[in-house]
């Protein structure tokens, strides 16, 4: 497949962002690979404040890797990602700590600490980053768990809850410090449709009520269409970004065959 031809929808390579939303994340010319295997090349995009920005694509195209690049866990082989003007992969000391306070991450597996209850999991960032007294930390953590519908499960251990609850608890912990940017890695994967729809609704509500910016990695079509303000699509064969824009627009007017097949669930 001709990778360049597949990039028909990408334009100048920087995904269009509404002018009234200042960029909080900027990715410029980023490339990534492991050893001799290239995942993607020359990816450019901006994420505007308050947007629900979706990174989509098939399995193995590098969606989760791109998320880990954004939060500074990996260094790109080329290019740069800045969050609120700072580069997490290069920042250190207090600058890094300040940047980390501005973001929360919900991991694909939930990444809850198994020896702690859900309440203690949510209290942990509060303990590390605030001077709230213990009873206040508990109050705040209960509110966060209540926001994701887990008020009743505060005293339960991660091993005692379902996958959907673990994902929601992961979101509650990511929200512990009310960060302006939340990264969600496959929030709907493996969930039943009702729980998945509930999560989508929660994301939309938080973006609306709290002005939170969401960067969501997913390949769940219904979620993409339900929550996404804007998206980019990565492709394994093209080794890069092949489309950008409003997901509903991409569904209705796909710029290339790969996007069409993705949105219409066609194999060829």
């Amino acid at each position: 497949m001709d990778g360049m031809a597949e990039r028909a929808g990408v334009g100048d390579g920087i995904a269009d962002r509404p002018a009234d939303r200042p960029a909080v994340i900027e990715a410029r010319g980023i490339s990534m690979g492991f050893g001799s295997r290239v995942l993607f090349r020359d990816v450019n995009f901006d994420v505007g404040r308050g947007e629900v920005f979706v990174i989509l694509g098939g399995s193995g195209c590098g969606k989760s890797t791109l998320l880990k690049l954004m939060i500074g866990l990996y260094q790109p082989t080329a290019g740069r990602v800045t969050i609120l003007g700072g580069d997490l992969s290069r920042a250190d000391g207090e600058a890094r700590r300040n940047l980390l306070r501005q973001l929360g991450v919900m991991w694909q597996s939930g990444a809850l600490f198994g020896s702690m209850t859900l309440l203690e999991n949510v209290m942990l960032p509060l303990e590390a980053h605030t001077d709230l007294p213990r009873d206040a930390r508990e109050d705040v953590a209960r509110v966060k768990l209540g926001l994701v519908g887990l008020g009743d499960a505060a005293g339960r251990l991660p091993a005692e809850i379902s996958g959907g609850m673990a994902k929601r608890a992961g979101i509650a912990r990511a929200m512990a410090l009310d960060p302006p940017i939340l990264f969600l890695d496959e929030p709907s994967a493996g969930l039943d449709p009702v729980t998945s729809a509930g999560l989508d609704e929660l994301i939309k509500d938080l973006a609306r009520d709290l002005g939170t910016t969401f960067v969501v990695v997913t390949h769940e079509l219904q979620s993409i269409l339900a929550i996404g303000d804007r998206c980019i699509m990565l492709d394994k064969e093209a080794q890069g970004m092949i489309a950008e824009g409003d997901p509903r627009h991409l569904r209705d007017e796909p710029p290339n065959d790969t996007v069409r097949r993705f949105f219409r669930r066609e194999t060829r």
Partner: protein, 434 residues
């Protein structure tokens, strides 16, 4: 796994706010609403909707500004004005800590809570407002909130109101293979040195700020590495003492020197075998457990999650384990020494030597320095074995196999390091004339 999941918060309360807040920008700060202590806010229509200026302070607006100093400029202000508790400024997760106690104090006896001066409220700040309202009393009205503040407050009220096949790699030629192996070895050595440096810095920082150490974790690891190993150490100690005494007594008897067996076994145990064998037990039992536990956490991305939360895994995970092993090892070595001497005494008594004679021989042949030197070595062994175990766990790759590899690396690395260190100590003690 539980069968049923609690539902996400219902939309009933949100609808009241959400009607007018359909756009993503909260309303202008100038619109004030009264939020009664009852669970529901007036519908959005009652609040009045209007154009939303770009400059409207949004709850998420903190994102484009540096984090405000806690309780300082850009923070929250708590004032008691007559019968009103007045909260103003930016009440967020970063400022709520300083404001919490004054707010709870000011809420006692307040007849209303005034939020008209509040510019920004996040859900942590909302928890403070709700807690203050709880202290003031059920019927105390919360009033004057701007529309975005009221939206966040209402959402938080609803929340708090709920009961509580691996890809084949490229084929490598033999030369390239050797090169890869060498580079890998070099990188592993560099990583090991980096870990050593990090661990040293963590220990120094912990000595300067002891409250960073989680005492509960330390006690748990002391129990796991120490008290739970007592039975095994005592059993092996007695058996080693029996074996050493038998194996030495038979040839020494030919020269009529079997009376000196207590001295031989005593010195061997206290100076060398006690710490060494206790170290082997620690490496096999605790070092591997540390590696497996931390390896699982690494595989499950828990360690990455800690890093992203700005919490140093060295402080939270490694320091308590290293400290626990350093404290537990001398105790285990002492127990091994004593158990070994008991085993030796049993053999000697069985061969017709009275206990008093055995004790006299020990008293003559063994010095306090032998015991203390051995215990000092044991402490260092504990530190190194725990460090190697933790390092193996934190360096684990991905997938279930990574945990097994980490445990293996911890045991092998721990025992090799143990023998190397013992050799270094032997030379050092010889040079120092101990």
């Amino acid at each position: 796994m539980s069968g049923r999941e609690p539902a996400l918060p219902g939309r009933e309360g949100r609808e009241a706010i959400g009607e007018g807040a359909g756009d993503r920008r909260p309303g202008p700060a100038g619109e004030r609403v009264s939020t009664p202590g009852s669970p529901a806010l007036p519908p959005a229509e009652d609040m009045g909707a209007g154009p939303v200026p770009d400059a409207a302070p949004a709850p998420g607006a903190a994102m484009d500004a540096p984090a405000p100093a806690r309780g300082g400029k850009g923070g929250a202000e708590v004032r008691r004005e007559g019968d009103a508790l007045r909260l103003s400024g930016r009440l967020t997760s970063l400022t709520a800590g300083a404001a919490w106690r004054p707010a709870m104090k000011g809420a006692r006896g307040a007849r209303r809570i005034d939020l008209s001066g509040l510019e920004t409220l996040d859900t942590s700040g909302a928890a403070l407002v709700l807690a203050a309202a709880g202290v003031a009393g059920r019927d105390v009205p919360v009033e004057g909130a701007s529309r975005p503040v009221a939206a966040v407050l209402e959402r938080s009220r609803g929340a708090s109101g709920r009961p509580a096949a691996a890809q084949a790699g490229p084929r490598m030629g033999p030369v390239r293979g050797v090169g890869e192996w060498g580079v890998g070895l070099w990188n592993a050595a560099l990583d090991g040195m980096a870990f050593l440096g990090e661990a040293a810095a963590t220990v120094v920082n912990a000595a300067r700020r002891p409250r960073d150490l989680r005492v509960a974790d330390l006690l748990r690891h002391l129990d796991e590495a120490g008290t739970r190993a007592f039975g095994l150490v005592a059993l092996l100690g007695v058996l080693i003492g029996v074996i050493l005494a038998f194996q030495s007594a038979i040839p020494m008897q030919q020269y009529g020197a079997d009376i000196f067996v207590p001295r031989l076994v005593g010195i061997s145990l206290l100076r060398e075998l006690g710490p060494l064998l206790a170290g082997v037990i620690l490496a096999g039992r605790t070092g591997s457990a540390f590696a497996a536990e931390l390896g699982t956490m690494t595989v499950n991305e828990e360690v990455s999650a800690l890093r992203i939360m700005g919490i140093d895994p060295m402080v939270l995970l490694v320091l308590p384990r290293m400290l626990a092993a350093t404290i537990a090892m001398p105790v285990l070595a002492l127990l091994m020494d004593l158990a070994g001497l008991v085993g030796m005494s049993i053999v000697m008594i069985g061969r017709g030597f009275p206990l008093q004679l055995v004790l006299n021989q020990l008293h003559i042949g063994v010095a306090l320095g032998d015991l203390l030197g051995g215990l000092g070595k044991a402490a260092v062994f504990g530190l190194v074995i725990a460090g190697i175990g933790c390092r193996a766990g934190l360096a684990a790759g991905s997938g279930p196999r990574a945990v097994g590899d980490a445990a293996t690396a911890a045991v092998v690395g721990g025992i090799v390091a143990l023998v190397l260190l013992d050799g270094i100590f032997a030379v050092l003690f010889y040079r120092l004339g101990w």
